[in-house]
């Protein structure tokens, strides 16, 4: 009886620890997703909410574009190889990590 009790307690404790750890991981990944989405929303003022611009907009939609294409284009704006009116000035204010995070976010959205 005694040893069975101990085993159950041990199993219970392990399960508890496991779920606590899962909870912490969930919280961290949910927080990261929130921050990535809020960061990406800095593009929405010009490119539309969730990267979908209004109909016939000269400023293009960016939702659903391939991730690597977006990273390349933003780097091209940044180093001046792609001419722009504004994007060269904006991309120079962004880190590589911020650019990657935005590209990941918009690439995952449907067009």
């Amino acid at each position: 009886m005694h040893s069975r009790f101990h085993t159950l307690t041990l199993v219970g404790l392990l399960l508890g620890l496991f779920s606590l750890q899962t909870f912490a991981q969930d919280k961290t990944s949910e927080s990261k997703a929130l921050h990535a989405r809020a960061d990406a929303s800095m593009c929405a003022n010009c490119h539309g909410t969730e990267g979908r611009a209004v109909k016939d907009s000269a400023v293009p939609s960016i939702a659903g574009l391939p991730r690597d294409y977006m990273v390349q284009q933003m780097q091209a704006f940044k180093d001046g190889s792609r001419p722009a009116t504004i994007m060269h000035q904006i991309t120079k204010g962004l880190t590589e990590a911020q650019i990657a995070s935005m590209a990941d976010y918009f690439a995952a959205l449907p067009r």
């Binding site: 921050h35 989405r37 003022n45 504004i86 000035q89 904006i90 204010g93 962004l94």
Partner: protein
Amino acid sequence: MKRRQLLQAGLALGTAPALWAANLPAKAQVVVIGGGYGGATAAKYVRMLSHYKINVVLIEPNTSFISCPMSNLVIGGSKNLTELSTSYDALSSKHGVTVVKDKVTAIDTQKKSVALQNGASIAYDKLVLSPGVDMMFDSIEGLQAANASGQILQAWKAGAETLALRKQLEAMPDGGVYALTVPEAPYRCPPGPYERASQVAHYFKQAKPKSKVLILDANPDITSKAGLFKKFWSDNYKDIIEYRPNHKVTSVDAGRMSIHFDVQEPVKAHVLNVLPSMRAGAIALQTGLATANNRWCGIHYKTFESIAAKDIHILGDAILAAPAMPKSAHMANSHAKVAASAIVAQLSGLDINESPFLTNTCYSYVSDKLVVHVASVHQYNAEEKTYKTVPGSGGLSSEANALEGTYAWNWAQNIWADSLL
């Protein structure tokens, strides 16, 4: 049962039940005061970023949103106010925001509730305050009465005064003078006065070529895009626009149509457009939130929470701006997203973003089609607890151009949709 009784009572009186009574819950997790670029965006993004789990009530006295950006084009004659207006309907129908057409009369920071003009009150877990600016009419002798009578307009909040100013310019004889005064910085929309002068000059050039635009600036120089404006004016409006710095208005005389200054000689004109100094909207002052000189609201920049009251997040033109941060529509929309993210994190038990950043773009029309811009990126600096522009980023147009005219109009439509649709 209660709502039904209320409806029946309304019907019995032969009137439709007031929208606020039928819609207003006793409490909302987030209450937003003000449906401008800051408040509307915050309402929408708290809903979106919380996956529509957090309920939001938006309180706004106006029936629809009218954009200040682009409203100088109405004064210039190439756009009308309808093109600049957006309904609040989509915030409720598409995003589930409870939109209440009312005005907040008081905020109880202890009980965490707001009182409405209609008599109702609503409690909040988090309050977003986006009150915009108030004109300090009392800072210039004679201006309050001259503005109330419609003789001297500001037209700095788009709406009835925008149309009235356009009418004054249309009625002015060819050979007349339009005088525009600019207050000391900071004020709403730094390049706005110079864009307005350009728009009026553009109109005069076509319709009344003998007329003048006189800019009387309290500042020592043009406060934004100075080189671009000066170049365009000298190339295109040389005989129309005259710029005079260091002109600080002390009084106006609507009877004689004259403006008086602290040092310089008085000026007479046919149309007077006087912009007084500005401060955060009255509700912020009344609640003790305008901690900087009783004019602007001090905030913790990481979350936009007031330094004077917990759980009140303040956005837009009303805040004490971080260095090089303009009081612009684009900036208010960006503020709203950082604040919405912090509010959603706090109400959901998630981590707050320790490293938020903001972008800004301001377009100015120098004619009906040609545009110049200024852009910037503002990164939160944890050590200094403020935003700093990223070295090497941001900048201006090289010259006025038509391509950016197209982008500017598309920017407007996209930011209106991003804030309200």
